[in-house]
């Protein structure tokens, strides 16, 4: 499991990059969901989001999941190409698979990578 140390993590398995404002789903989340077949971004550029707002809806062959904003602020960019290539979330969740960028984003309740790794371990067996 990959957990870059420069990122912050939520209990609902989103990541947030305080430096760039980018957010998406974690490597753990994509591996639990398995093959992702559908992504719909629920917010647009210029919208304000608060922590916990649904920002995307993701479906895999196993399950569907809502993705929540890990930080509050103005959405400065959305990854429009994602809906045509949902498999990007499986192959590169922290890179090409970014979902939105939140400008001036102040993160909600987040963990660092060590804490998040421990949190994930507790949920597999």
């Amino acid at each position: 499991m990959n957990t870059p140390s420069n990122l912050k993590y939520t209990k609902s398995d989103e990541w947030f990059d305080p430096a760039s404002g980018a957010a998406g789903i974690t490597d753990f989340a994509q591996s639990q969901l398995s093959d992702i077949v559908f992504v719909e971004l629920l917010v647009d550029e210029g919208e304000d989001v608060t922590v916990g707002n649904a920002i995307a809806s993701v479906e895999s062959v196993k399950a569907s999941a809502e993705i929540y904003a890990p930080a509050a602020g103005k959405v400065s960019a959305v990854n429009k190409g994602l809906s045509d290539k949902p498999e990007t979330l499986n192959s590169d969740p922290f890179g090409e698979g970014w979902m939105i960028k939140i400008e001036g984003g102040s993160a909600g309740e987040v963990m660092d990578s060590t804490e998040y790794e421990k949190y994930c371990e507790g949920r597999t067996h």
Binding site: D35, V37, F38, E59, V61, K62, A63, P86, E87, T124, H125
Partner: protein
């Protein structure tokens, strides 16, 4: 059958078409010719297949043999209650008096049908402990939506407009949040505790004056009866909320527990699960809804009732009545009458009160027997006495075998796989519901197949990865099917300009 390596090739009806081949021969016209309608009203581009009758019959007969149904074998699909549907239902729903009536006939001419509906309403009231019943909803989720509309109407009638939040446990059916969402309500998920009950601490934190109500499946999708159910009901009602029961798992409770007595305000029945109306194939389902006294006036209209009292000499006249603050009509006409209501009526009258109780006791016994036989081979994460179903994990320590592989391999043993990957709170879930209609031999064969598959997972994992092997079609590429969705087999030539 043309079988090649687990894949039978059956062309589509379009591929079987041959230009000019006909199913019927039209006689010579014996009326004068008239002009065709104007050209813009005619279309010639529809590529209807051209086949003889016998070719059509054989094509669909071959396709039907690829199918697997509850009449073929064991079908332990969790929370779906795929019980055997007694064939006497097929006789009763085809009785001419039921079959050849029209919903707009004068009530005096369809008293038999109305008595059946009235008595079914009364029986469902007695079974569930509710004060009133509507038979209109077409299926379970439609019943849920009916229930959510009534919750909304109830709060509105009290000018209580703050309430926007529906509480739904994470062990509920997936349709519950969807039904609440249809009315724009926000959904708050309540986690389960380690024993598979509603987490009371989380519920306490969620209960406030913005709660519309709670939608609870009991027994839940873990097959667990909530041990604190009376406390849960009280907490939600104390904060002004309405308790909704998802009746999909009612097959565990008949004659034992009545949701109305537990304090629930609303519940939908799935006649196509609990009461032996055929389930699957797209319908027709039937999802009557029961309500407590305080919601009686909000029931959909019309209900079946007595419109003229009878006496010693004259039978009462049955007809339609409208509740005072009714949310209105939920369906054209009166629900799935012949397809659903007559079959359920037959089933209930055939069993009677003691027979219904037997159904639930055998359903629970069968599930517990299977759980006991599989314990030790498969991990049972919420391991206590279950109700009519239980959830096992379809994975093994140090193996890459997943629930999907096990489900596919079961098909090679001539069993329909259980529900998999649901509920979401169990890792690699296999949700198994045997129902009461299966005998011990069938349960043993199924348990032995699953135990054998667990051995195969260790000794020959590729056998599972590539399963099924003996079915008309082998392993489907589910990812490709979902990512490259093709919903139309044919596009008109001018499709681009039509867009």
């Amino acid at each position: 059958m043309n079988k090649t390596g687990g894949t039978i090739v059956e062309p589509t009806i379009f591929e079987l078409s041959s230009p000019g081949r006909l199913g019927v021969t039209m006689p010579a016209s014996d009326v004068p010719e008239t002009a065709l309608p104007p050209k813009h009203l005619l279309r010639s581009e529809l590529p209807l297949p051209e086949l003889a009758e016998v070719d059509v019959v054989r094509h669909y007969m071959r396709l039907s043999k690829f199918n697997y149904s509850v009449d073929d074998g064991f079908y332990p699909l969790g929370s779906c209650t795929m019980k055997y549907n007694p064939k006497i239902n097929e006789d009763t729903c085809r009785l001419p008096g039921f079959l050849y009536t029209h919903p707009l006939q004068p009530i005096e001419t369809v008293q038999g049908n109305l008595v059946l509906m009235f008595e079914l309403q009364e029986w469902l009231k007695e079974i569930s402990g509710f004060a009133g019943i509507t038979l209109q909803p077409a299926a379970g989720a439609h019943g849920e939506f009916t229930g959510v509309l009534m919750m909304h109407a109830y709060h509105k009638s009290r000018n209580d407009s703050k309430r926007t939040k529906i509480l739904i446990p994470d062990a509920a059916h997936g349709t519950n949040p969807a039904s609440a969402g249809m009315l724009g309500m926000s959904v708050l998920t309540i986690p389960s505790d380690a024993r598979g009950n509603v987490d009371l601490k989380a519920l306490t934190a969620a209960c406030d004056d913005t709660v519309v109500g709670m939608m609870l499946t009991n027994p839940n999708t873990l097959g667990m009866f909530d041990e604190n159910i009376e406390k849960v009901v009280k907490m939600v009602k104390d904060c002004g909320g309405i308790m909704y029961a998802d009746g999909a798992n009612l097959n565990a409770l008949l004659g034992i527990v009545r949701p109305g007595d537990l304090g629930f305000d609303i519940m939908h029945f799935n006649l196509h699960k609990t009461f032996s109306v055929p389930h699957g194939g797209g319908g027709p389902g039937s999802g009557p809804v029961g309500v407590s006294q305080r919601l009686l006036d909000f029931l959909p209209s019309p209900l079946v009732g007595i419109v003229e009292e009878g006496d010693d000499d004259i039978e009462p006249l049955y007809g339609f009545i409208t509740p005072k603050q009714s949310i209105g009509r939920m369906k054209a006409f009166h629900g799935h009458f012949g397809g659903g209501l007559v079959r359920a009526y037959t089933y209930i009258s055939m069993h009677g009160p003691d027979g219904l109780k037997d159904i639930s006791q055998y359903a629970v016994l069968n599930a517990n027997y299977l759980q006991a036989r599989l314990r030790g081979t498969y991990k049972i994460p919420y391991d206590r006495i279950c109700m009519h179903e239980f959830v096992a994990e379809g994975s093994f320590e140090g193996s890459d075998i997943r629930a999907l592989d096990i489900a596919k391999r079961l098909m090679d043993y001539n069993f329909h796989p259980p529900t998999n990957y649901f509920p979401l709170i169990v890792h690699e879930a296999l949700m198994i519901e045997p129902t009461e209609t299966e005998n011990k031999d069938t349960l043993d064969r199924f348990a032995e197949a699953l135990i054998k598959i667990a051995e195969e997972a260790k000794s020959q994992p590729e056998l599972l990865h590539n399963a099924p092997h003996i079915t008309p079609f082998g392993r489907m590429d589910e990812v490709k099917a979902a990512r490259e969705l093709v919903l139309c087999c044919w596009l008109p030539e001018n499709y681009e300009t039509m867009k």
